[in-house]
């Protein structure tokens, strides 16, 4: 009994220690989204905060340092931490350039406390912006596109 308790105690994580783990090799196809608008519902339902309707806002959020995610074909969000050696996950150039793009990503998947995290090692294919929903929703938010000056 003592030995079991001792082993159980030893197996508990050390406070403050980095719990690095091996990632799972995956290939995921999906859209690069801004996660705050998607998760919070601040701009409406999930369909309205993706695609061309939301592209300008996706640029703002990405440049503003809001985390980007890959919204997979399976409906899961994968929080992107690195893209091809660029670890600029807080406003970096690579993620900004890919805002709203559908990509096929090859990389390593990690799970932690209910969220999926993805380290993209290679963008296998950049399919471009494929979700054309601006005619359905208009710009989201409505002020994303300023009225032209006369």
């Amino acid at each position: 009994m003592r030995m079991r308790l001792l082993m159980a105690a030893i197996l508990l994580p050390l406070p403050g220690a980095v719990q690095a783990a091996e990632g799972e090799r995956v290939q995921i196809r999906g859209e690069i989204i801004d996660t705050w608008c998607y998760y919070s519902g601040v701009m409406g339902g999930p369909d309205a905060v993706t695609g061309t309707a939301h592209h300008t806002c996706a640029l703002w959020c990405s440049a503003g340092g809001i985390p980007v995610g890959l919204l997979g074909e399976d409906g899961q969000v994968y929080m992107v931490l690195r893209i091809e050696g660029d670890d600029g996950s807080a406003g970096g150039d690579m993620q900004l350039r890919l805002a709203s793009h559908e990509i096929t990503a090859d990389g390593l998947l990690y799970h932690r406390d209910g969220l999926n995290y993805l380290v993209v090692e290679k963008v296998v294919t950049d399919h471009g912006i494929t979700k054309l929903n601006h005619e359905d929703y208009g710009p989201v938010p409505p002020f994303a596109i300023p009225e032209p000056k006369e």
Binding site: R2, L5, L6, A9, L12, P13, L14, P15, V18, Q19, A20, G23, T35, W36, Y39, S40, G41, V42, T52, A53, H55, T56, L59, W60, C61, A63, G64, G65, I66, P67, Q76, V77, L81, R82, D87, G88, S89, A90, G91, D93, L96, R97, A99, S100, Y110, R112, D113, G114, L115, N116, Y117, V119, H134, G138, P139, A144, I145, P146, E147, P148
Partner: protein, 190 residues
């Protein structure tokens, strides 16, 4: 043996707690979001990429990487997606000065399992554990202005940001192309 286990527990090695209510003592302002809950808790500011993969620069990435809050009471990694400004701005600028330190934060937790939103956080204020003074998590736009002096002018930062404007100039507001979206814009403002 009992003494040994008690020592471990007191050192913070307790088993993860079940889902908890972190609203006690919170002074977070509501944003009237569907799944928000006020939440005030103590945590350590960590570099998420480091935490997961072991790739750990000394300064948490110096502001380019996303930061997390490793909650003290249950060792859960909370992901601060947002700072306190209603301006399309994240939380890294607010948390970076506290890299590796124990902090207390107050803000809003977003828990919407239908969307997969778990342990998502909007930080409104932060202070080092033991400090009396809070720092409001609203510094992002001032820091942006310092690093983008050429974009000085009227209007919100996101209308003046050089990188955003370059993307829009190249690919349009919808991303489908400047010429391609012209009929849509014409109809939008008719």
């Amino acid at each position: 043996m009992r003494h040994f286990l008690m020592t471990l527990v007191s050192a913070g090695m307790a088993l993860p707690a079940m889902a908890q209510d972190f609203s006690e003592g919170s002074e977070a302002k509501p944003w009237n979001l569907y799944a928000e809950q006020p939440a005030r808790f103590e945590a350590r500011v960590v570099d998420i990429l480091c935490e997961l993969t072991g790739d750990c620069p000394a300064d948490c990435g110096g502001g380019v990487r996303q930061l997390g809050l490793l909650r003290g009471v249950d060792d859960v990694l909370v992901y601060p997606n947002k700072n306190a400004q209603a301006a399309f701005t994240g939380a890294v600028v607010e948390l970076l000065p506290f890299c590796g330190r124990q902090v207390e934060v107050d803000g809003l937790l977003i828990e919407d399992p239908d969307l997969g939103a778990v342990n998502i956080y909007l930080v409104q204020k932060v202070r080092a554990v033991g400090d009396a003074e809070w720092t409001a998590a609203n510094r992002w736009t001032k820091e942006w202005a310092k690093t983008n002096p050429e974009a000085d002018g009227k209007g919100p930062w996101f209308r003046r940001d050089p990188r955003v404007n370059a993307e829009i100039a190249a690919h349009g507001y919808t991303g489908i192309g400047v010429e391609e979206e012209k009929p849509f814009l014409k109809e939008l403002f008719e």
